[in-house]
Homo-oligomer: 478 residues x 2
C-alpha cells in the first residue's frame, strides 16, 4: 500500500475552502468581464525554446521541464551513448533541455499567444487569463510551487494610449470591493517619473538607478539611517543632500485627488527639466483624472512615489494594492505599463498595460489572517431534501427535481437515516435550508422549509416553494 | 527571433471560441452544483510513486514526468556517476522515474485525495472536478495531449446504495439539456447483468468473457458475420446457438420506460439462474425507476445491453450518452459504478459511482460537425460605449461606470476614431448593444441604445438605462 501524499509546495483545499476559493475566482472573473475583457487559456506547457528566450538566472533555474516516458527513455539512452563515446561522464552530463516546460507566469504565454495569433486578433486586445503557474521554488510557508495567477492585460498594436492605464485601477477597485476583504488602497506611480527624478539628481546611469531603487526598497525594513549610511557610503557616494531629497521623495503618499495633483505640480516645479520626469507627470495626471472619471472614490487610490516594481519590464504607470488593515500582507494586486510585449517573437511593436492577482498566495494569507471566516463554511448547496420515509421516496425525488428546475442547488439524501442526523449533516455542511416533505405535507400539498441559520421554519404550498425560497436566498443574512 | 509556436497536441482557442468553451464549462459546473456536488481541485502533478501504483502498459508509457532544472541536473550527474562506476552504459540507462508526473485522469487524483483527507470528509462524498489532464499520445486530429475532463462522483464509505446510480442519468440529462447541442440518449447497462448473462452461456472465465466482449465491441464496424466466424472459430469455439444468443442480447435497445422493464423481465425469465444476472437486473430496475422519479423523460434514456465500457474498473451500472443526430461522435459522457476507489492507498472500502465529460474532445467534435455556430460569435461583452468626442470623454466613462455598476458587461473605447468604425468593431466582435452618448443625449440626459442584432435603436432617460437593457438582455433572440 502506498501512502497517499500531496506533492510539497501546493495548496490543496478541502471542499469548503475550495468553495470559498472558487467564489473568489468567480468574483475576479466577473470583475474582468464587467470591463469587457475576453478569456483565453493557454496550455500548461510551452516548448522550452519558446518559453526560455527571455529569461535567465533565477527564473530559468526554477523552471519545471516535462517529458513523456518515451522521451525520457530516449534521452537516457542518448546520454549513455554520448558518454560511452566521449568516455567522460562530466561533460556528457550537460544534456539539452527537454522539449517542453511548465509556464512560470502568464506573461510569456500571452506574448507567445498574441504573436502567434496576431493576425486573427483585434487590437487593442483585451484579454484575461486565470490559470495556474509553476515554479520549482524551495518549499516554505506561503510559498507555492503551483499557484493561480489572475491576469488582465490590454495590448495595443504600435501604440496604446495612456488612457488604458486608467482602466486598471477601476478594475481593481471593482474586484476588491466585491471580494469584501476589507478597505484597500490602490497605489499608483510612474517609472518615467522615477527615472526623471533620479536623472535630475545626476543619477543617470540605469544600472546605478536600479541599485539605488533596490536600496530604497529596503526603507521599511532597515530604516532611514541605514539608507543614509549606504547611499552616502562607498559604491554609491551620493551627497547627503541628494539622499535627503530621495528620502523625502519616496515617502510621498497623496491623501486625496486634489492632493495627488498638487504633489505632481510640486515635483514638476522642483524639477531640473528632465524630459522623462515631465512625461511621467503628464501621464500620472491623465491617469488620475480618468480614474476619478471612472468613478473610483478618491479614498481608494493614491500616489506612492516609492512603488517601482521589481521587474525591469515596466516602463510607465505602475500599480500596487494594499489592504489598509493588513499592510503586512504586501501588495495583493500589482502591474503596470510595458513598451513591448513580444519582441522576442514578432517584429510588431505591442505595448500593453496589465495587472495580476496571485490568488493562491492571497487566499492563503487571508486564511492565515483569519479574514476568510465569513465566507467559508457556506456550502454551494442551498437546500437539502432529507429522506422522511421509504414510502415518500418518489415524492422526495420529485421535490428535489422541482427545486433544481427552479435553479436552486439541491442535495437529496438517498440513504435516509434519522431526521435529526440528516439535519445535523446539513448544518455541519453549511447548507442553509432544509425542505421537509413528511406525510402531513404530502397530504396537504405543502413543504416545510427550515432555515438552519435563522433557526426558523415556515410551510408553503408546493406551487409557491421555488419563489418563496428565491426570496429567502436573495435576502442577505445580517 | 523565436517562432511563437503552440506545442503539438493541444487545443488552444481564439477568444470567441474560448467564450463558447467557457460557457460549456459553466453549464457543466452549474449542472453538477445543482445536484449538490462540491468542487475540488488537485495539483496538476502528483508524486510519481503515488500516481503510478495501479497503472502499467499503455497509461504508464503515456505519462509526462516533471522535474525542475535543479532536479534534472542532479539526475544527469547521478546517472553519469553510476555509469562511470559500472562502466556499462546500457544498464545505467534505466534510471529511476523523476519525482513528479502530470495526472493522466482525475480518478487517480480523486482516489489519492479521498484517501489522504478521508477523516476530514463527509461520506457519501459528492465532488465534482473540472481540470485538464495529460497524456503523451502520438498527436493526431481530435486526439489531445492536454484536455479537460469534467468529472462528478459520489463516494461512499463501506457502502453506497444503488440509488446513487440513478443520480448520474439525471445529472447528464440536466447538463445536456442546458448545453442545447441536440437530442441525446443516455444508455444504461449493468456489468453484473453482463457477467451473469455470459455465465449462463457457460462462459464463466473472466478472461474469456473479456475476450468475447472485445469481439462484440467490433459488431458495428465488422458486422454480424465477422462475429459469427470469430466466435465459433478457433480460440473461442462457441456453438452457433450461443453466438446467436449473444447477437440477439447485445442488440437489445429499449424504446421507453415500460419496454425497458419488460426487456429485463424477459432476460430474467430466460436465465439459467445466475446470481450475478439476477442482481444486475434488480439494480437496473431500481435505477430505471428512480431515474423516472427524478423527472428524466423516458425518451431520453434506454437500456443498451452492448454497453460494457472498456475499463475493468466498473462493476455495476454503466452509462454512455450519444447525440441522436450524431452517433458518429460516440459517447459524449460515460461512467459507471465501481467497487473500491482507493484500494492502493487505504484499507477503507470506498465504493463509488460517477461520470465524466471529456470537454476538449467534445468541443472539438461539435465544432468540426458545425454544431457550435449558434453559440460562438457572441461576445461576453454586452454593451460597447463608443467614444463620441474628446469633450464627452468624462461623460462616456461615467456612462460605462453606470452600466457596470448595474451588472452589465461593458467595454468602452478609449482611443476613439470614426463612429462607423467603432460600430463595425462591435459587430465583428459579437457585441450586441452599443450605448451612444452624443451631444444631444448629453443635453437631454438620455442614452441611445443600438441593438446590432435586431438592427433597431431606441432612446431612454439615463435613470432607466440599466433596467431597459436588462429587459432587452433577458429576452432571447429568436
Amino acid at each position: 500500500m502506498i501512502t497517499p501524499r500531496t506533492p510539497s509546495g501546493v495548496l490543496e483545499l478541502l471542499p469548503q475552502d475550495q468553495v470559498a476559493f472558487q467564489r473568489m475566482l468567480d468574483a475576479i472573473r466577473a470583475g474582468y468581464e464587467r470591463f469587457g475583457f475576453l478569456p483565453i487559456e493557454t496550455p500548461v506547457f510551452e516548448r522550452s525554446d519558446v518559453l526560455l528566450t527571455k529569461t535567465g538566472g533565477e527564473t530559468e533555474r526554477q523552471v519545471y521541464f516535462v517529458q513523456s516516458t518515451g522521451a525520457l527513455e530516449k534521452a537516457n539512452e542518448a546520454a549513455a551513448a554520448a558518454r560511452q563515446e566521449s568516455g567522460d561522464g562530466e561533460d556528457a552530463a550537460e544534456t539539452a533541455y527537454p522539449e517542453l516546460a511548465l509556464r512560470f507566469d502568464l506573461t510569456v504565454p500571452l506574448a507567445r499567444y498574441v504573436a502567434e495569433h496576431e493576425h486573427q486578433l483585434t487590437f487593442p486586445f483585451r484579454r484575461y487569463q486565470m490559470q495556474r503557474v509553476y515554479r520549482g521554488e524551495r518549499p516554505q510557508r506561503g510559498r507555492f510551487r503551483e499557484f493561480y495567477q489572475c491576469d488582465v492585460d490590454i495590448i495595443g498594436k504600435d501604440q496604446l494610449s495612456v488612457r488604458h492605464d486608467a482602466e486598471c485601477p477601476a478594475i481593481i477597485h471593482g474586484i476588491f470591493t466585491d471580494l469584501a476583504i476589507g478597505p484597500f488602497t490602490i497605489q499608483i506611480n510612474n517609472r518615467k517619473l522615477l527615472r526623471g527624478f533620479y536623472e535630475d539628481l545626476g543619477i543617470t546611469d540605469s544600472e546605478q538607478q536600479a541599485a539605488v531603487l533596490r536600496e530604497v526598497d529596503k526603507l521599511d525594513k532597515r530604516g532611514e539611517d541605514y539608507l543614509r549610511t549606504t547611499l552616502t557610503g562607498e559604491g554609491f557616494g551620493l551627497s547627503s543632500e541628494v539622499v535627503e531629497q530621495i528620502l523625502t521623495f519616496v515617502q510621498v503618499r497623496s491623501t486625496g485627488h486634489e492632493d495627488a495633483l498638487s504633489r505632481l505640480t510640486e515635483v514638476e516645479t522642483g524639477s531640473r527639466g528632465s524630459a522623462s520626469l515631465t512625461e511621467g507627470i503628464a501621464e500620472l495626471r491623465e491617469v488620475l483624472t480618468l480614474v476619478r472619471a471612472m468613478g473610483v472614490p478618491e479614498t481608494d487610490y493614491r500616489l506612492n512615489f516609492s512603488i517601482a516594481r521589481g521587474l525591469d519590464y515596466y516602463t510607465g504607470t505602475v500599480y500596487e494594492t494594499v489592504l489598509d488593515d493588513h499592510p503586512e500582507i504586501g501588495s495583493i494586486c500589482s502591474g503596470g505599463r510595458y513598451d513591448n510585449l513580444a519582441g522576442q517573437y514578432t517584429k510588431s511593436r505591442l505595448p500593453g498595460v496589465g495587472i495580476s492577482i496571485g490568488l493562491s498566495r492571497l487566499f492563503w494569507q487571508l486564511r492565515e489572517a483569519g479574514l476568510l471566516e465569513a465566507s467559508t463554511g457556506e456550502s454551494t448547496v442551498q437546500v437539502l431534501v432529507p429522506q422522511m420515509s421509504e414510502e415518500l421516496l418518489d415524492a422526495q425525488l420529485a421535490l428535489a427535481a422541482q427545486l433544481r428546475a427552479g435553479g436552486i442547488r439541491t442535495e437529496t439524501m438517498l440513504d435516509g437515516g434519522k431526521l435529526g442526523k440528516q439535519l445535523r449533516y446539513a448544518d455541519r455542511a453549511g447548507i442553509r435550508f432544509v425542505a421537509l416533505l413528511g406525510e402531513q405535507e404530502a397530504a396537504d400539498g405543502t413543504v416545510t422549509i427550515k432555515d438552519l441559520r435563522r433557526q426558523d421554519q415556515f410551510t408553503v404550498p408546493r406551487a409557491e416553494l421555488v419563489s418563496a425560497l428565491r426570496v429567502e436566498l436573495a435576502q442577505p443574512l445580517v
